[in-house]
Every structure is written in structure tokens, then in C-alpha cells.
Amino acid sequence: MRNISEAIKRFDFDEKIEGRAQYAADLKDRQMLYVKTLRSEKARAKIMSIKYPPLSPGYFIVDYRDIPGENRLPLVFEDQPFLAVDRVNYIGEPILLVVGPVKKKILAIMQEIRVDYQELTPILNIAEARQRQEDFIFEGKSCFVEYEYEKGDITEVKKKAWRVVEDEFRTGYQEQAYLETQAIVAAVEDQRITVCGSIQCPYYIKEALRQALGWPEERIRVKQLPTGGGFGGKEEFPSLVAVHAALAALKAHKPVQLVYDRQEDISCSTKRHPAVIRLKSYLDDRQRITGREIEVMTDAGAYAGLSSVVLQRMIFSVGGVYNIENLKIRGQAYATNNVVSGAFRGFGGPQAFFAMEMHMENIARALHMEALALKRGYFLRKGDTSTTGGKLQSDIKLAEIVEKIDKISGYSRKRRDYDAADGGFRGIGCSVFFHGCGFTGSGEQEIIKPKVRLRKYRDNTVQICVSSSEIGQGCLTTLRKIVAQVLEIPVEQVQYDYPDSDICPDSGPTVASRTVMIVGKLLYDCARKVKARWQEGEFTVDQAYVYPGHLQWDNEHFRGNAYPEYSWGANVVEVAVDPLTYEVKVLGTWAVYDIGTPIDEKIVKGQIDGGMAQGLGYGCLEVLESHGGRLRQNNFTNYAIPTAVDFPATESGLIDNPYEYGPFGARGLGELSLVGAAPALAAAVQQAIGRRVRQIPLTPEYIMELMDDED
């Protein structure tokens, strides 16, 4: 048997490099109509009236009255309409659709539609939401959700505290900036609707269509097409796009194509949550950290979306990789009249680890210690409990991880040298972090209930039927490898196509670093059953998820194992800050991870490199700000994502630590690689400029402010 980690050629490689892969916008059909979305121009308003121009034959308007089912997006809270009825809550909220054969004419019709608004006083940020006494957006409250949990006895710790270190950090929006914009094609045929497109979660879309159309499941088919990147941006948002496309196809009785242009995509799709994080650490007379109080606030935007789940991940991550016995952690997701915040690779982790890692930097400075030396003293170990009191049952090799990264990056030596040079506008920083793999708590069992299916054919080929989507991360290849390895057959004998809800059971969404670890493990178990029956000819085996007996979770009180398992990592970033322009130049980046067994080393490296670039972009390049409820940046000129010249290559390594319950020992990776970049970068900049960094992104303007401030 070959080593499963050994890289093989990706199954989607040929069609992509040859330009043959058909993304949603590439589908052509003479009948096909185009759809454009008319959106709110106001952050908060009542819609008083809408005036339409006369429509030429073949053109249609679709509004909320065309929704045969319920006008509510089925997510955690059902507060968001597919199309606005009589009020709008953010700039960019969809009001109606214009459908027709010629793009230019559609735009002309949109120009002539007059929406008459009566403006209401909007809530434009977290501070305003906190001050507001009445006239809230969501159920008479300022927050969609508010959480609090404790560990140990924080009151006792506070009484005995000898010293307190306090910090407040802020993080900005980040746009996923997948290179292919949101794109869906929909068609109605024989009483059934088929929706195809650029999506991460076929079954989220199926559920949204079921709710919007009021149709039984059998009449709804959802297929993924080659997808030009997702990063969370194609997790919950495409449900809205898909329902719009479906409504248009139903009304026009023709297939339709709904493709966003870049400005529209940046302006109104979901973003990473801006956050304010306050941390207070209590130290005893021996300079030991004995407890912490942490408060996390996010700007969730106008509708609840996935903000509750993102906030949960944030408050379960914000304790960092440290074993602190006494904690009080609070979190609030504020409802504002901004664009809806949502899923983005890391899902609350990047904000949380930025805050905790910088806080540890600051505690170390206060104690005249080197940061990594301080951190090492508190590293979580096997047998410790997490912030939610869940027992950590796998080996945790943080000491080995930081030892390795120190070696390849020269961190300790450079850190000392730069300190001795008193900044000198150069610095190096190290972050240590984890990512919880799979759904939060017992979500895999309670909410997702994933299923996988393998079909064995007479010719000894095996077909994988799962809803996991290929969004560039390589699952068309990695999941095949897992099945082939169990069956001991050549990987070419395993078939696996882009998911189609007519063929694939719901294996859950392609999110939460769960595809290899959770879906891959189900396939692993399923393949073993197939193997046992190999001689039987043609048959099908299903495998359903069972919550592992070694885990437990109390969702009411947030007690127990917040995640089925964790992946671990450390990043080092070295920078030079230009003393005149204050531009940050990244000189080197290093990364070491424990992801258990890598299922394909090349795919793993791709995830590591790509996550690092996105994380560095988050840390110093990607400025996205809302003013008066309108995002100031709306294209690739004013919203700058990393180019090939911005950052040097990442030197990375893995720690060998197979995970007992993962397929061939694998844990999750997809998000981990983004989480630690910004804090390592920020720590480096802090050393370089000798000033406290309190927010990201670290733009030259912000650094200049810091330099002026404390001079």
C-alpha cells in the first residue's frame, strides 16, 4: 500500500488547467435569462412604495409576492427575508429581481424603478448598538445572542489578585474575495427545480428552496458546479442567491443565470465579523496568571445569519492554548444596520487568537519575560480541560510545535537581537493556536447528522456519494484517497463527482474543517464495510455519524467538549516597518502544524500557503470599513487582497501525531492555516515599532497614528 500522505495528481487538475471546467457563468443555453437584484440604498428604512416602468414582453419583476412558501431564510434564527417586504435593514438588502434576456435592458429597467423610502435612524456599529435604548432591529434587543460561561472560581481569583493586565483589541471586516463571484443557474422542468452553482453546502440550499417554494424535497435538486473558491463566503450566503434564481426561473418559465459582478459581491455578501475583544488577566503574587475575564463583541449586521455559531467559536477559542483554571467569558453579537456578517475561514478564531496572543505578548512585557517563554508555561496538555471543562484526550504536542518553529525560524535569537536593537523597525512574532475541528459541541450529532454512501459496482469500481463540495481545497482527491486506501484498490477505481442532491445523502456542509476528519472518517468506516462484502458484486452501504462515546457536551451551559477534536499550530512572522512610510514588509513566515496524518502533502501545503496569505492579508492589507452603513471598499482596487509580490514563501512543517479517531489519523486543516498569521504579524510589528498594537489591519495610517500617539 502506498503512504496515504504521498501526493497524487488532483482529479480536478486537467479540466481546470485546460480551462475546460464549467463554472456557473460558463453554462450557456440559448433560452437562458439573466437576473439582476435591486437592492436597498438605505441602511434602515420603510419601503413606502415601489414604482415600476412598463415591461417589454419577456421581462419580469420578481418580488416577495412571488414567493410561494415562506419568506424566511432557514438558518439558526429565521429573521431574514429572501426579499424585503416593507422594510430594509442594510444597504444592499435584496428587494426585488429583474429578469430578462438582455443584460443591458435589465439594467435600464433597474434604473427606472423608483423605491420610495421612509428612513429610520440606523444603528451603525457596536458602540451605537450598546447605547441604544429602544427601536432595536431584532426582537427588541441590542444583540442577536449573548453568552456567558465560567470555569473555576473567578470571584475568588479577583479577590486575591496581585496584579491585573488589561487589553482591548479591535478587528475589522474581511471579505472572502473568492475569485469567482456568487453564481447560480436555475431551471424548472417537469415540476422539479434544479439549482446548480458555486456553493459550499448543497443541502443548505435545498432546505432554503424547500422553505421558499413550499415544495416537497423530491421536487428539488441541487448540484454543485466547479467552484472558484469559497472560504465560508459560499456557506450560507448562496442560499439567498439560489432562492432568487429559483424564483426567477419559476416566474419566467425559463432557465436563468444569476451571477454577481464583483462590486455587488463585495458590497452585499457576508463578511468576517468585526470584533471588539476585552481581556483582563489576574496574576498572583508569584506572577502566575490565575484567572481571566474576557468579553467579546461582534458586529453581526442586520440579520442573525450564523452569528450565534461564530460567536460560540469565538468564545470557545479566545482562551487560547493555555490552561488557566479560572475564567469568565462573555460574548455578544450585536444587531446593526450593516451588511450581514457570516462565515469566513476560521469562523471567529482569527479574531479570538489575535486578541489572546497579543494579550499574552503584553503580559510577558509587563513581567519582563519573553512572550514564548511565558506561553510555554501555560500550554495545554493531554488530560487538561478546555475553557468549557472538556477533557482533552489526545496528545497535545505544543512544546514540540514551538520547538520546531523556533528552530526553522530562528525566532528566539532574532527576538532577542531585535529587542537589543530596541526595535530598529524590525520585529518578529510568534503565535500559538488551535482550531476546533467539526461542528461546535455535539452539533455533528444534534444538528448535522451526517450520512455518507458508497456504491460498489460489478466492475470493482466504487462511487463516493457525499455532499462535500470541491471548492479548491481538494476533497475530490483526498476523500477518494481515503476510500481507495481502505479498499486497497487503485485510487482511479474510486468515482466521486461534484455533489448532486439526487444522488448524495446529506453529509453535512463543507465547513468547519470537517470534511476530511468527519466525512472522511465516515467514508473510512463505510469503506471497511464495503471491503467486508467485496465479493458480493453490486451493492450500496450507508454510514451515519455516531457521537463518539468519549465526548460529552451540554449546550445549555457550554460545558464539556466544545469540539470533537482540535488541530494545533504555531506561526512566526518577521517584519520590517518602513520608518518613513510605515509600510509593513513581511520578511519571512514560518508555520508548524499538528493536523494528525496529512492525507495529501501537496494539498496540505496548498492549504497552509493559502491560509497564511489570507491571514497576513487580514493582518495588514485588507481594509474594509462601513461608513453610514455603506462599505467604503467595493472592488479589487480599493479592497486589496495579497498579490504575488506582497509576501514571501512560507516555510512550513508538520508534527507527527496521528489522531485516533480520524481517517488514517487525520485531523482538520482548512481553517487552522489562517488563524495564526495576523497575531504573529501583529506581535512582530509591535516589537518593530515599540508601540502597543491594538487593532488589525495594520495599515501604514494606523501605525502612523500609533507612532504619533505615544511620542
Binding site: 501526493a7 495528481k9 488532483r10 480536478d12 487538475f13 479540466e15 481546470k16 488547467i17 485546460e18 480551462g19 475546460r20 471546467a21 464549467q22 463554472y23 457563468a25 460558463d26 450557456k28 472572502q176 474575495a177 473568492y178 475569485l179 469567482e180 463571484t181 466547479p226 467552484t227 472558484g228 473558491g229 472560504f231 459582478d261 464583483r262 471548492i471 479548491g472 481545497q473 481538494g474 501537496k602 494539498i603 501545503k605 496548498g606 500557503d609 493559502g610 491560509g611 497564511m612 496569505a613 489570507q614 472592488n635 479589487f636 482596487t637 487582497i641 495579497p642 498579490t643 504575488a644 509580490v645 509576501f647 514563501a649 512560507t650
Partner: protein
């Protein structure tokens, strides 16, 4: 108003009628049904729509049809039949330079333009040469590696015409 245009596309002579301001990108994708050229931004910022016009890398979303008269245009559909493509393809595979694939056709044509100008580029030169092509998935390192490898494995190839 439509104008008549003649140009070479992927080695073939073409004459067609189109609006003078139509973007080359739409001409390719809608009228000629060549969808390998992608639209990532429509504003000249991402390079997903990159094509070669008389050997120069251009963003097809910024090129109006009217300027194409007599030009020689190469898109991924033509480029994929060339010897140069073959080398780049094998090096992209070896380096693991493709993820979602949406930037890939543009990236390949950018690599072609770069290697034609600098057959033995340094890593920095490769980065500079690809700076107009955004990729959100790879962080670029594996693409840079692929192009450096292609320069080595395809030595001499980039001084010969693409054969279209």
C-alpha cells in the same frame, strides 16, 4: 451599430460583426463561446480574463472589440494545444499550483508572457510578472515554484513561437 472585424484567434482567422465597444471578454465568452477566459472583477484588477494579444498579456475585460482588427489573440483554448502549455501544465501539477482553478487560465497566460520576456527568471521576477493576476487560494508560492520549474524544464522553448 455593429462593425465588421477580422483578427486571428488561437491560430485561426476570424471575421465577425460586433459592437465596437463590446469587451473582448464578452466577445469571447458570449459570442464565441470560449469560456476558459474568466471574469473575476471586470475592472482590470484580477487577471482572470488575461489573454495574449500580439504576444502581450492583456486583460480582456478592458479591451474593446474595435481595437482587435488585425490582431493575433491567444486564449487558453488555443494555448492548451501548444508545447509551452504542456511544460507549464506538468510543472503546475508537480508544484501543486491549482486549487479552485478560477485564476488558472489567466495565470498560465501570464506565465507564458513572463517566460517569453525572461526565459530564466528569478523568483522575484516571477512574482513581479504574476503580480497582476490574483489568486485567493494558493498564496502564490506553489505557482511561483511551478513557473520557475517550467523555466528550467522548458529551457529554450520560450524563444520559439507558440505555434499558433
Amino acid at each position: 451599430m455593429k462593425i465588421k472585424l477580422s483578427f486571428r484567434l488561437n491560430g485561426e482567422s476570424i471575421t465577425l460583426a460586433t459592437e465596437p465597444l463590446k469587451r473582448l471578454l464578452d466577445l469571447l465568452r458570449d459570442q464565441l463561446e470560449l469560456t476558459g477566459t474568466k471574469e473575476g472583477c471586470g475592472e482590470g484588477e484580477c487577471g482572470a480574463c488575461a489573454v495574449l494579444i500580439d504576444d502581450r498579456l492583456m486583460n480582456a475585460c478592458l479591451v474593446p472589440a474595435a481595437v482587435l482588427e488585425g490582431k493575433n489573440i491567444i486564449t487558453i483554448e488555443g494555448y492548451r494545444t501548444t508545447a509551452q502549455f504542456k511544460i507549464l501544465k506538468s510543472c503546475f501539477e508537480k508544484a501543486g499550483a491549482v486549487q479552485c482553478g478560477f485564476c488558472t487560465p489567466g495565470m498560465l497566460l501570464a506565465a507564458e508572457a513572463l517566460l517569453r520576456q525572461k526565459p530564466k527568471p528569478t523568483a522575484e521576477e516571477v512574482r513581479a510578472g504574476l503580480a497582476g493576476n490574483l489568486c485567493r487560494c494558493t498564496g502564490y508560492n506553489m505557482i511561483v515554484e511551478a513557473v520557475l520549474l517550467a523555466a528550467k524544464e522548458g529551457e529554450g522553448l520560450w524563444s520559439t513561437p507558440v505555434g499558433l
